[in-house]
């Protein structure tokens, strides 16, 4: 039976055909609109990989160099496209290698459908070769998971997986498929899942809540909106902009909310949180109304909870009712998709402007510039600073590139200094803080947006965690631009050791290979920058290069990210890093 026969019969029509479980699975993926799969084969998933060869024209499989690379790539793909990322892994070690990415996607609400192979159903529970209880292991980090042991269960399980992964607050789903379920025949027909009675993805918008929130907004003298990734996940960027423009409120974003609103917007005041901007952090404890929009009050955002905006009334626009009053008690919850709720509240709010209130943020900006930014971005001498690199990158990227980062100091510098003009151009590991995320995520982002420039920014530590993916980048001729900010330290941990552990640098100095030579062995171009005078040209060369390019930049060894809200402090108790100098 040829590919096209099955496919034409099935995908185009609704009649039932008799196929193997593997065929059923791949046909289901095609029907759901999946086109790119990241994965790695192995024993238990071999029947599925075998059938992949029959669907080459519809499904592109990207062989990564490690399953962790596959899942981070799927995450990067999902984050920039808004479509679910799909990845394959075999049973046992293949599946357990996905766990970090699944946990990351769960924390950051990224829609993923992960298919794992499993041993024959007769071997389940017998400690068979490469058997792991994948459903058990992934349970705490998945939105839903399910084990398929019969071929005929496959279409419904996949339909449910896509529906659950993408609807409401998105998240990762794992479908564990036994080898016999892939090999056995079944009658295949596909019906997309649109309803599960035990699952209400989007709470119905309640007008009473809208009116209560609007009243608070209309009465506010000093309103501050804090925007999270919920706006991006809800495709509500336009609704946000309309709301912001009409209401006149000051706007800040969380780490993951970046790019939801262009950061040159007149009311944009920066990012909140541990290494966010002074203005929105200080003004959190000065505003009279805090409007949380699609964010979840992470501890890196709130600092010590008891001292988080105690003076302010609070509104929480949120799709997930479990987030309401989970950490911060709010006066006016507004449940629903922010795309709907922000659109609806627009009719109830009065057009306003708050020039004096916004000027207070400008005053904070001035302090931050004088005490932190000026020296970070324009040092008189010495080695290159991380922040400087981002500033120079802005000159080339002009806010239009997709920026993917790893985790650590470079991530915080990128958050602080990168410009963003449009949505879904910022891919970073927020909730889980996964080192090694950046490079494979950039790879997935490039597959998702082949026409955009994708820049990955990593530190020397994180890059070494997943740098085997250079192989995937080289093989697929992906034009990913890789910046490695090398300070020979695990910089963020070193910074904490300096500030909170009496400068005892336990296991943070780290050596690296010659990154440029390493890339060259994959036939990837690159160069090392040692000196400020060559930085701008080097970044331009990288940015304008045809193919992949690695730029290793030797940066100052003991640079610190400031301002900083130390753990356990109030968001308005900010360290600028110059306290000891005074």
């Amino acid at each position: 039976m040829g590919t096209q026969t099955i496919e034409e019969k099935k995908v185009a029509q609704t009649e039932t055909v008799n196929v193997t479980g593997s065929d059923a699975l791949l046909l289901s993926l095609i029907t759901e609109g999946a086109s790119t799969i990241f994965g790695y084969p192995g024993g238990a998933i071999m029947p599925l990989y075998d059938k992949l060869m029959d669907y080459k024209d519809k499904l592109k499989h990207i062989l990564t160099r490690h399953e962790q690379g596959a899942i981070h790539a799927a995450q990067g793909f999902a984050r920039v496209t808004g479509k679910p990322g799909v990845c394959f892994a075999t049973s046992g070690p293949g599946a357990t290698n996905l766990i970090t990415g699944i946990a990351d996607a769960y924390m950051d609400s990224t829609p993923l459908v992960c298919i794992t192979g499993q041993v024959f159903s007769a071997l389940l529970g017998t400690d068979g070769f490469q058997e792991t209880d994948v459903v058990g292991v992934t349970m705490p980090v998945t939105k839903w998971n399910y084990q398929v042991t019969k071929a005929e269960e496959i279409p419904e399980a996949i339909a449910k997986a896509f529906y659950i992964a993408c609807s409401g607050r998105p998240g990762p789903v794992v479908i564990d498929v036994t080898k016999d379920a892939m090999m056995n025949k079944c009658d295949y027909s596909y019906k997309r899942c649109k309803y599960i009675r035990s699952y209400i993805p989007e709470p119905r918008v309640n007008n009473v809540q809208i009116e209560a929130a609007a009243k608070l907004i209309n009465e506010a003298k000093k309103p501050l909106a804090v925007v999270g990734q919920g706006v991006i996940l809800g495709n509500a960027e336009k609704e946000l902009l309309d709301f912001v423009n009409k209401s006149g409120v000051a706007v800040a974003t969380t780490l993951l909310g970046l790019s939801a609103i262009p950061n040159n917007h007149a009311q944009y005041t920066g990012t909140v949180g541990m290494h966010g901007n002074a203005g929105p952090n200080i003004k959190t404890n000065d505003c009279d109304l805090l409007i949380a929009i699609g964010m979840r009050f992470d501890d890196r955002v709130t600092g010590v909870v008891a001292k988080y905006a105690p003076q302010a009334k609070k509104i929480h626009f949120e799709i997930d009712k479990a987030e309401i009053n989970k950490i911060i008690q709010v006066d006016a919850p507004v449940l629903g998709n922010v795309g709907e709720t922000l659109a609806q509240i627009l009719d109830y709010i009065q057009p306003k402007q708050y020039p004096e209130w916004l000027a207070e943020f400008k005053a904070c900006d001035k302090v931050e510039y004088d005490r932190v930014i000026k020296e970070e971005l324009h040092p008189a001498d010495g080695k290159i600073n991380m922040g400087e690199v981002i500033e120079v990158l802005n000159d080339s990227a002009k806010g239009d590139a997709i920026i993917c980062t790893d985790v650590g100091q470079h991530q915080m510098f990128a958050m602080r200094y990168c410009n963003f003009n449009s949505t879904r151009t910022w891919v970073t590991s927020g909730g889980l803080g996964t080192m090694g995320f950046g490079l494979p995520a950039a790879m997935g982002a490039q597959f998702g947006c082949p026409d955009k420039k994708v820049v990955s920014i990593s530190g020397d530590g994180g890059f070494q965690m997943t740098m085997q993916e250079l192989g995937t980048i080289a093989y697929n001729k992906l034009p990913v631009k890789m910046i490695v900010l090398n300070n020979n330290f695990l910089g963020m941990v070193r910074q904490w050791q300096e500030l909170f552990f009496e400068e005892r640098y336990s296991n943070t100095p780290i050596s690296s290979p010659d990154f440029v030579a390493l890339a060259a062995s994959y036939k990837i171009e690159g160069e090392t920058v040692l000196d400020r005078s060559t930085l701008k040209d080097a970044i331009e060369r990288m940015y304008n290069s045809e193919g992949a390019y690695i730029l290793e930049i030797k940066v100052t060894a003991k640079g610190n990210v400031f301002p900083m809200v130390p753990a356990g402090a109030s968001v308005s108790d900010i360290l600028y890093g110059d306290e000891n100098k005074k």
């Binding site: 058990g136 349970m139 705490p140 899942c193 309803y195 599960i196 035990s198 479990a322 009053n325 989970k326």
Partner: protein, 182 residues
Amino acid sequence: MNQEFTLTIFSENSIGLLNRITIIFTRRKINIDSLTVSESALKGIFKFTIVVDSTEQMAKNLVKQMEKQIDVIRAFYLTEDEILHQEIAMYKIETSSLLETNLIEGIIRRYNARILELTKEYTVIEKTGHKAETQELFEQLKPYGVLQFVRSGRVAITRLKKEHLSSYLENLEKEHRDPVTV
């Protein structure tokens, strides 16, 4: 302030859901005092009854986390005055020690207990009631030598006329005439 809450969770009958529910407690280091599962009055819908000692805020959050599970239909937290509840206890006593005195009839009457089985070696007594009541009987029987003792988890029903869930499901079904479920 901690107090006793009875959580009732209505769910689909799916494999592994018990695990997903208990993870919510273990992750927060909350001990489950008692747990029972059985089919509810609504066919195919299962009811978990879980007793915890927690603050009201925590009980609220736990319920929301439960409802977040895909296969959970609804979850509720209830206080003592909102429910009727029972536990069942069984006590195995050496028959000879019971026969040494004539107090056993009084005990059985007073505690509204009953004898399930009597052999030459042992006697099994059964009592239903609140934990305090079954515990009190345990203390009474102690002098006779309790060979085995077991107490079930709590079962509870609300003081409402119908199950909390019934009207909710009726409304759901009205909205979705053509439900698609796996």
